[in-house]
Symmetry: D2
Subunit: 319 residues, 4 copies
Amino acid sequence: MADSDDKQQPKMTSSFWFDEEVTADHSMRMRMTSLKYDKHSQFQRVQVVETVPFGTTLVLDGKTQSAKNDEYVYHETLVHPALLLHEAPKRIYIGGGGELATARECLKHKSVEEVVMVDLDGDVVDVCKKHLPEWNDGSTEDPRLTVHIGDARSYLVEGSDTFDVVVLDISDPIEAGPAVHLYTKEFYDLVRQKLNPGGVLVTQSGPAGLMNHTECFGAIHKTLAASFRTVVPYSVSIPSFGSDWGFNVATDRGDITSKSLREKPPDATDAAISGRIRGPLRHYDGGTHLCMFNLIKAVRDGVEAEDRVITEANPVFMY
Amino acid sequence: MADSDDKQQPKMTSSFWFDEEVTADHSMRMRMTSLKYDKHSQFQRVQVVETVPFGTTLVLDGKTQSAKNDEYVYHETLVHPALLLHEAPKRIYIGGGGELATARECLKHKSVEEVVMVDLDGDVVDVCKKHLPEWNDGSTEDPRLTVHIGDARSYLVEGSDTFDVVVLDISDPIEAGPAVHLYTKEFYDLVRQKLNPGGVLVTQSGPAGLMNHTECFGAIHKTLAASFRTVVPYSVSIPSFGSDWGFNVATDRGDITSKSLREKPPDATDAAISGRIRGPLRHYDGGTHLCMFNLIKAVRDGVEAEDRVITEANPVFMY
Amino acid sequence: MADSDDKQQPKMTSSFWFDEEVTADHSMRMRMTSLKYDKHSQFQRVQVVETVPFGTTLVLDGKTQSAKNDEYVYHETLVHPALLLHEAPKRIYIGGGGELATARECLKHKSVEEVVMVDLDGDVVDVCKKHLPEWNDGSTEDPRLTVHIGDARSYLVEGSDTFDVVVLDISDPIEAGPAVHLYTKEFYDLVRQKLNPGGVLVTQSGPAGLMNHTECFGAIHKTLAASFRTVVPYSVSIPSFGSDWGFNVATDRGDITSKSLREKPPDATDAAISGRIRGPLRHYDGGTHLCMFNLIKAVRDGVEAEDRVITEANPVFMY
Amino acid sequence: MADSDDKQQPKMTSSFWFDEEVTADHSMRMRMTSLKYDKHSQFQRVQVVETVPFGTTLVLDGKTQSAKNDEYVYHETLVHPALLLHEAPKRIYIGGGGELATARECLKHKSVEEVVMVDLDGDVVDVCKKHLPEWNDGSTEDPRLTVHIGDARSYLVEGSDTFDVVVLDISDPIEAGPAVHLYTKEFYDLVRQKLNPGGVLVTQSGPAGLMNHTECFGAIHKTLAASFRTVVPYSVSIPSFGSDWGFNVATDRGDITSKSLREKPPDATDAAISGRIRGPLRHYDGGTHLCMFNLIKAVRDGVEAEDRVITEANPVFMY
């Protein structure tokens, strides 16, 4: 662009584009500079594409999972509110998390002694280690982290471990996608049994924008609310997803309410961060917390009005 | 889609798309069903397109101004925080506002006695009246509204009127666009002289997302801050714009601070709305207020770090 | 482009596109300036779109039928070789032909006394008359032309008329499209009975390019060859179709061979044109004839190797 | 597509596309499966992309040069008519030809004793050898071929060699592109001096379709006609180029005329091929020859009407 002899460059009349559908009638077009990896693993199609606006991007079954330029927004948003809700989390369970960036954020918490991560797809974990090493940022060297390849549900069923916080960093509930069973009441009941007293669950919960929050964000909220005493929805804009994105944090603790989270004084959040988290955060702080936990009216009303509870017998799929 | 004889329909292998660039490397594609109007006015290219995701959409010089399905988010966000900041606004000045939807929102305030709107482009006003009558929702019948076609700056310079609130609902500061002079310190100084004591100015302020807030959002904030005692930036996600969008509200009152707006109790906002505004709002309420006035850290830091003040001699243009 | 004050124009960052699929993996994108008509008729979706590269374009069920800038290539190619193959055609039957441009070309032949056109869809005929009057170029005023709205097959079955040349200007054989029954051996046998001695049939025959000639071009050829003594395939590049396009001319005359058509001296074609056709042609002449009747080896071999004969029981559909 | 468990696959909602502009208002979109190579060489941007419709494709400065699925059409069309025009060519000069496929075709001629190829860009030659080995098909092992990296013009100027046929397989004359000097009268005069008596020059000559033949096809023809006694234009449809493509063959021999080439009996071409060329050809034969040398009227008239002669002082650029 700033090339001094720009006039000497021939006009490029071709170009490569990564098109991602929001719906069949709406998509994002991102100029791409390379397609670094494109293979079918045992479970899904795994692609690593580099785009101009968002940098290196992991795409699973055609959906952007994380992009270099804004993955920190997603991963800080998923991890820190939940871990700070807990008094002093020691043992963390991550379901999914193949990019290893969720582990990276968990390991920043001084109280954390052990992180167990179970991702279904070893190829995804390997691809991320190789092509996106800055995403785990050395987490894999941290002796507190154990990575298992396998089914996140079976690991919980078969083991006797319990945890302080369970973080679900899994693909969207797409029909025939590998993660569809991890958004059901049956699964949330299982997680509840595996949480220590005072434990917290957080899950990514699909799109939460004005036009697309009805796909699954509310249904996941209501399903969690059928298992847990308190469930609080929140959202953040993720530019590479082309939408605001939803999360739900759930606990059986009685001293936490939606109202307390929605009106939490920024100073209190900032103090907790500086006391309990090593190193600076790029996204989450007291102001960001208020932005994320106060949904706009249309989305708030939509979540409230939702009446679907997702079960194995009555699944909900997003686009 | 739900057509019962769907199998009988031939596959459509062609399609019509409205592509809007976010940058040269990133765009949104929206399926369109008609192009209802497409002419050059004296000042700009005026198009009315209908898209599947966003409905009827006004496009000026290639940029979406308002779309049926989410225009209420934009217009409520522009108008209500500013008018509620004022104690009891009687006289409102709207610079721009061709869709007449900004006038519609102003007229909902019980205290308002007169709304003067000055838009440069009579064709835009006519097109909106004809093709988008639901946007003004009868405002043009309200005797409190006067619409002038002309330059928003000249009207203020030449007249002796003063106002309680000035709402700037104008095109983005694109190079050679008609509105570029309405984002300068010179113009803000003029507005300040035309405000009654306790008066408030609010202006749309361009994109305010993680990736694009540096285009002009911060510069407009800093320019206002060079004229006014208190200036508070805020933002909201507008899906048809493909981005979070920025606004700045400015006043010389000493009792208003950023902190007071960022931590305003939702009940206080809700009470003001129900006391001072006729009819239900679809978007703005106490929770939405907190969401909008608490910027995420990266944008907040970006606004703070900005050092450009826009003047006639040193203009700033967005993409 | 050559605008002298080009620097003053704001950059247009949005645009409207007509995308037409060649296959699911390959499409053409044409910048569009308006969508003039878009309705479902009783039989199909009828659209009139204006594009920069090809001008006003008729689109039926998602497929370009004719575009202003190159419709003459299609219509001259369909009509003149067949009519010149006949010694002195007086009575012409057009199946389809809604644009009225096929009639226009037939009426240029001095020998022609009557043209009967039967198109299924009255809306298409009306839309073309209204939006594309230059396509019929006054044909509808010519007393030799009669237009019936109805099924091209039923008209032949039910009437007792016979014709010198039958021109089939119908939609492609798309599954569930209205024209699929007009590409079968059963229909060709019917046409053969309705031809006077020395009669000629010509039909548009789908894409005939290197990559897509196997869709239906060869199958239509072989189906005709199961009914008629001599069938000669030919093709021409139609830019707005994004492909070379195929035609087949068929007759029971014994003095016409593929070889005679493929090696016809240009002067002979040019002499026939100037003797028998009123007014200048824009596309068809002796050189164009050789270009069109000499297929490239891959397509010629593909047609020869084809073994499908299309019947009501064994239909063939193109993409 | 035919995957038996197709129902089990999640819907892919993202996709990768190679868009190639025909003009700013018209482009082709091809689904791509990988971007195998993308670097700036010393002279141009070199990309190897794999698309579904056309296979592995070499792209230089944003323009498709050759694609696996139809490169044989381009290379046979460039080489065989010219070499068969010569009585018994022994020494061939290839200007450009980086894919090595032009050399491959030349080496099929039994009379050929030496092929000298001079391509500016060693990176292109290396990339093609590595990523597209089937394109040279072993040519590089043939002792008759010598490949020099350097400027095709300088090689001729500085050497004393003369040739029977000169084949110009070079990039289009794009402004600032590396090949622009190889389309001038000055260069053609040089080639003429380097041809042995009875020698033949052939050059690719840009797009030659109905809508784009005026870009440079005619101008290259007229420029050659200012140097050579006989110049014959011809064209062929190259699907991966999205257009008919033009070529010009030139000679000072008096016994060759446009008419003789346009009406050449197919048997004569077929006999020459079988007598003089080793192995079967996929594209060029007697019928294909007539197709290619008989331009459609609009293009023929356009070439005739052209009055530009390209010189160093008066260059012509295509889009």
